[in-house]
Amino acid sequence: MEQEIKKSKQARGQVVIDAERCKGCGFCVEFCPTEVLEFSNEFNTKGYHPPYAAKPEACSGCDLCGIYCPDFAIFGIRIKAVA
């Protein structure tokens, strides 16, 4: 599983991406409310461009990407606040 973790004071969430499952439909990229995701230039073995968190600091962990994803290839989690 491919993961992008960029620790930042503003990120309240992060996405977890399983690039191999992705079939490049683009739902997550389009419907992320804070435009975290872009298509990467990499290919997975199926020949699709999986998403990656281009703006990880904008991720709220709302998991809309996870609900939209028809291939169960991505989900968002809320990061527990660190004091």
């Binding site: 683009g26 739902f27 389009e30 996870g66 989900f75």
Partner: protein
């Protein structure tokens, strides 16, 4: 960090990846369904999913619940048998527009009439996808399908209107764009006593979308977003769908009516008196 996708505990991961195309909305509906299950807190062991034949029919095979992949058009009567034999089961029929409304149409209207306590999730992609994209009773006029190569000329059913007319106590329609609403409706439908119906308009990019030049799955999703309006409580006579037309979504019907078993028990005790023992399932 080794997080697992929370949906996986509800899926038969030994059968992944599923067979659905890139941009097909079925996986999206499954996510919504799973979140609805989490939300309504019905014990998972009690839930049965019954599917018919078709792309949507494959849902039963991917969910890690007691599930039944039955014959084309007939998940509803199968579900009826399950439910009446053991009313403690929470029975969900998850199937497509062709399966439920064409070949299954008769069973649909009678189960609604009887108010059998099941939840019917109908994924409507306006086509028979599995067999290559034929016309169904929901295909809009002028849409192209392999069996209407010059355009469909038959008036389609409006499913919310049909469901309401047949007696369904809960009727909602959403598109796969409306994921939070789908989840909420399925949750309400599961918790509702009686015949509950949730229509989910979903893209079939490989067949319906491609043949009708509606773009890929994402284009179709964007179309749903731009061209749908939410009108809860709308008159179901006015929510028909045209080709590339406006989509009226919402929770249209939420009413009370005794279920089949409630009527059965009520009338039997009225008629047979104290010698009748309330039916609560086959012992």
């Amino acid at each position: 960090m080794n997080e697992t996708n929370p949906v996986e505990q509800y899926l038969r991961m030994d059968r992944m990846p599923h067979i659905w195309c890139s941009g097909c909305g079925l996986g999206t509906t499954v996510n919504c369904f799973v979140r609805a299950l989490e939300g309504c807190q019905i014990p998972l062991d009690q839930i049965c999913v019954v599917s018919g034949i078709g792309c949507t029919g494959r849902v039963a095979g991917y969910l890690k619940l007691d599930s039944f992949h039955t014959t084309h058009g007939r998940p509803i009567p199968f579900a009826t048998g399950l439910k009446l034999a053991n009313p403690k089961l929470k029975v969900v029929v998850y199937s497509g527009d062709g399966d439920l409304i064409a070949i299954g149409g008769n069973h649909f209207i009678h189960a609604a009439r009887r108010n059998i306590d099941i939840t019917v999730v109908c994924v409507n992609n306006f086509t028979y996808g599995m067999t290559g994209g034929q016309v169904t009773p929901t295909t809009p006029i002028d849409a192209t399908a392999t069996t209407t190569p010059y355009g469909n000329f038959e008036e389609p059913f409006s499913l919310p209107y049909l469901a309401e007319s047949a007696g369904a106590v809960y009727v909602a329609r959403w598109t796969t764009y409306h994921i939070r609403h789908i989840t909420k409706s399925i949750k309400e439908a599961l918790q509702k006593k009686g015949f509950s119906f949730v229509e989910i308009i979903s893209p079939c990019p490989t067949l319906y979308g491609r043949r009708n030049r509606l773009g890929d799955g994402l284009e179709m999703m964007k179309f749903y977003k731009e061209n749908s309006t939410i009108k809860n409580g709308a008159d179901t006579r006015e929510v028909g769908l045209g080709f590339k037309g406006q989509i009226v979504c919402g929770k249209f019907i939420d009413r009370e009516r005794p279920s089949f078993l409630e009527m059965y028990n009520l009338k039997m005790s009225e008629r047979l008196g104290s010698s009748y023992k309330t039916y609560e399932g086959i012992q």
